[in-house]
Symmetry: C2
Subunit: 334 residues, 2 copies
Amino acid sequence: MFDLVTPALLLDMTVLDRNLATMSAALPGPRLRPHVKAHKCTQLAHRQRESGHTGFTAATIRECEGLAAAGLAEDILLANEVLDARRLGALVDNGARITLAVDSEVTIAAAAAGGVREVVIDVQVGLPRCGCRPEDAGKLADLARGAGLEVRGVMGYEGHLMGWQDPVERGRLVAEAMRPLLAAHAEVGGDLVSAGGTGTYRENTFATEIQAGSYALMDSQYGTLGLPFGQALYVLGTVISVWPGTPTMPPYAVVNVGLKSLGMDHGNPSIEGAQVWFCSDEHTTFAPDEPVAVGDQVKVIPAHCDPTVALHERVHLIDGDKVIDTWPVDLRGW
Amino acid sequence: MFDLVTPALLLDMTVLDRNLATMSAALPGPRLRPHVKAHKCTQLAHRQRESGHTGFTAATIRECEGLAAAGLAEDILLANEVLDARRLGALVDNGARITLAVDSEVTIAAAAAGGVREVVIDVQVGLPRCGCRPEDAGKLADLARGAGLEVRGVMGYEGHLMGWQDPVERGRLVAEAMRPLLAAHAEVGGDLVSAGGTGTYRENTFATEIQAGSYALMDSQYGTLGLPFGQALYVLGTVISVWPGTPTMPPYAVVNVGLKSLGMDHGNPSIEGAQVWFCSDEHTTFAPDEPVAVGDQVKVIPAHCDPTVALHERVHLIDGDKVIDTWPVDLRGW
């Protein structure tokens, strides 16, 4: 039993440390640029720094500000477009190294106007999201240089391949996705080819650095891919109700973990030794294989780690069934 | 153009006021016990109080604490089971009136041990979630009274009927669901029969009070039911990228509103005049009917209001395209 108010976000320290070590062995030092959007926690980022990774990837300005405040601004890549870069310019003025993704004339102008000094050209590599057409990358790099910006290279996120099950086919598709990125890089120049994620970190041997984040925490979706990372993240709940079973309704139990404490975009969470029926705001209804009692604690495995973490103010580090530390989730918001 | 950091939660004040007035006309005073889990905002609760509703429904202890701190603890029903009621007992000691749902011997014992003085017996009325078997309600009421608790009546949430499209069939099903609740009430006694929600507030003429919350804000899911409430809640975003269209990929645009700013359990959000393709952590990719430009602002309609609000620190009240106030979303967390 954990002495915690539930629902509570848990992080298994042993599994976390093993995940960090496994990734650092595969992608040492600057080969990995950990994405903080997965954990939104500067204490965890400090551990990634201690594992040898000096650069970070961020998705929001707020994440950049939090990293800078925590002394982790040696080399932050904001892998996202922004229209108002003034808060980033203020960080740069205070000594942070911030590199911003740009993919259009307007975002280049915003970067320059906001006081950002370094950019990468964001190239669309198959995922219909941000990124310019590969053939426009060189022209945008010239435009950026003309606006006084240093162009450090390119980025291109093959997000549509993260969940691809077959590793051989995944490898083939990653190679295909990276071809236009490398072609764009030849036009753009610079040292950086930033791409990849937890799902493709082994197959993406084309990028100079990989932007993985979920590997540290994991979730039930990534858990299906056979990756060498263990499930470190849980939402702890308390069984608050048990239905004994009636002629019209089979037995079930209810744990006080719901939509308000779980990212639901990848579907329902999982509970070991149970079938999850559905989630409500503050509840998950599940059918346990073995009977549970009101008051029991249950560890719920999120289907998607990133949005789950974003719902919690803090994460409790555990060793077995002991809480050994509590870290603020201090990079939330925008 | 709103001068706001995006993504930003917006609440249309005119529509909100109309929604509050419409509901207060239908369910005046104590006939409505507004559920604060939908908006998690004491400023909005104050407006519901000014509309004549003195009691509130809550889903978490934190919501009760926040309501009490805001001077709104005349009559709070925590419509959920808890195993540690000590924080509620502390509120009661400080003058708050808190009534707690109980559905088992264990939760009754927890209520008494925590210093709660008033309870309702929570009865399962068809939704497999909390609530005792209707035939056990009288026995549990006796047990609660034996433990020194005042039993104010019963509650039973017909959540499985909230989204039922056909109002006639919905009415028939609500009547069917309320029959065991009324039978339980006959055994339990007390003044309260608390039930219902935004989807069934018209059909549920059996409960003494309705626990609706979403009516104030609305979302695209409730928007399909033909209810007399308007869409008041949006997440404002900025178009950060526009894809011009290529032989292999049709045109699309990207707004910086994603999984981290939207409740996703009811599926993708909507954008007027556009087809939403998918959401990522900080992005929604959509195909607009008319061209949009990088820098344009877009109002995204959440599929589910409750978990959307829980992702934001504040909500901006708007009148047309002017921000007229900003309220903290101060009931988040547990």
